[in-house]
Symmetry: C2
Amino acid sequence: MPPSPIRKLVPFAEAAKARGTRVFHLNIGQPDIETPRSIMDAVASAAHTMPVLEYSHSAGFESYRKKLAGYYAKNDIEVNHNQIIITTGGSEAILFAVMSCMDAGDEIIIPEPFYANYNGFATESDVRVVPIARTSIHSGFALPPMDAFEEAITPRTRAIMICNPNNPTGYLYSKEELETLRDICLKYDLFLFADEAYREFCYDGRKHYSALSLEGMENHAILLDTISKRYSACGGRIGALVTKNQEVLDTAMKFAQARLSPPTFAQILAEAATELPEDYFNGVHAQYSNRRDALVSRLQAMPGVICPNPGGAFYAMAQLPVDDTEKFCQWLLEDFSHNGATVMMAPAAGFYATAGRGRDEVRLAYVLDEADIHAAMDCLEAALKVYPGRLS
Amino acid sequence: MPPSPIRKLVPFAEAAKARGTRVFHLNIGQPDIETPRSIMDAVASAAHTMPVLEYSHSAGFESYRKKLAGYYAKNDIEVNHNQIIITTGGSEAILFAVMSCMDAGDEIIIPEPFYANYNGFATESDVRVVPIARTSIHSGFALPPMDAFEEAITPRTRAIMICNPNNPTGYLYSKEELETLRDICLKYDLFLFADEAYREFCYDGRKHYSALSLEGMENHAILLDTISKRYSACGGRIGALVTKNQEVLDTAMKFAQARLSPPTFAQILAEAATELPEDYFNGVHAQYSNRRDALVSRLQAMPGVICPNPGGAFYAMAQLPVDDTEKFCQWLLEDFSHNGATVMMAPAAGFYATAGRGRDEVRLAYVLDEADIHAAMDCLEAALKVYPGRLS
């Protein structure tokens, strides 16, 4: 079982803080945006009056699933509440999908870089991750052409997994790219697992297309979702597995029943969130969009740094002119400060399955306000000038 | 993946209710006892003031783990907070233990009957359950002698699993039985997984002994715990994996990090529960003890019924004079009522791994008040007189 690459640097960050250095956390996708007050109050109100904190239905409250189907309908995803299984975070949705659709020794194709915990869930299920390495920061991590996937397909391939908009790259897949994936999945009878945790976070007026609304994919598309980022509710641990494939639903329900039920309090929160005003996301969206612009323009202005402008999520990938970003990120925490502060980023090697890739890249999560983003970029800019392992 | 045997009858119960028949639920361990008001209010208060519902530490709040170590100390279990990983329910603790200590194809020995979901977790991890079949309702499901275990051990055996007090039998293991298990585990270098969800529910003045306080078992004992039953907080989904084995802790932490964190709200509830007054359990305990006495005495008075008096938990197993308890339980819901009511029980075959065993047994959870228990027993008594598949 691989350790979480994002968490490896934590002891160095703790030591920096103990020395009095302020650490700007760009390393983890924990949003700082306030959780909507009305949905927190819904939990408070329920906790005040509920006599017994009971198990819920293993698939989650029926009332919540019905309202969630309404939320999906507004997002051009037509499903009914029986096609939704509420999970303990998006993490459990991923685990249920892998365990329900794949056997030990089967293979799942994932374009790299990808969310490092996919490796963890694959290991838990004894499934092999086959990365698609024909991706590059120079093309902004666009999906490679169909033959890159076809080269990777073997008799053991069961699924392709994408995260859209992408963690860690921020890349937003176009409708055409999704249709390419559909063609591959139908041709080779593969599942398409689509982690759409960042559905609401698309910029520059671009639209999100869901794998679940692709025609002809009714039996192949599995949507993996979570409220964590959408409502700044990471600690709730509420996600969902959504599919029209009845066999997958039946199998996933057995896993759901074995673990009894998803958390009750956060289901109340999630149900309340389906009733937030339509304009709730506008404010959140504007904030993230401004932060992205600040972060990316600062990074692009640094000599030797490459940073494609991400179309979605709240991550950016940057190539840095350093020997090794793991060493650089540790050095930032151990040996550097600027105006009493330093910056913590996620070295990108942990997001690649191909050995050696990503060693000159970092992932930055723009989960700080604009002033802090500028202060963090001041640190990074100063650090790149003095880092002993800087490449010319 | 096997379906949950307890949930198979649910559609029949729903149909009975739709016809207007009252259903006494003795089939599932969902306590009816009110969740302590003070711990629900702690959640309400936190929800009112918390700005962002953040991920917690993957091992759970440090403050909660420290207080939980204090709770264990009061129960003669000496651990520190770094030896505790907070999990999403006891279910996740079981899954982490199996995944951290065992490889695909390994074997785990479990005396039967056992909690049916153990099969689910074993299937998820590709681990084989080897039942100990030398148990019997006639000896009250006491642990068989050491040679019954030795016969079952193979080179692939990695662990023995017990639930103490037991679900489904209510059996409370004696100190001597636990010492026997210790001797086996040390002799064959096996882990002892101890599900102690019902620690507080021991009757007749008997004491609970934890696997984690067995001398010499520091590297072998893994305690699997939950607050679900202890505080009537099943919907919280908070449990714990507790062990002094550092290697197991390190591996389990990787699984914990992959799923990010346990639910925040219920951790607040669980932390508040460590501060309940010492006498909280006295009232709960008296209620369950009276219910057990009512249930068991009624069952023992029915001709042809065998029901050993359980020493703990809130379950009793009964042998019934019927052809097949699956058929009988379904018939109770489909074709029978008495005073406008019927009773739902869990057919015991699902708790056995050995084919054919348990078909004349049921598990009854005494999670109703005494008046309802008597009304449910009136139904059962009347039903056994008229059931067409009654054995002479």
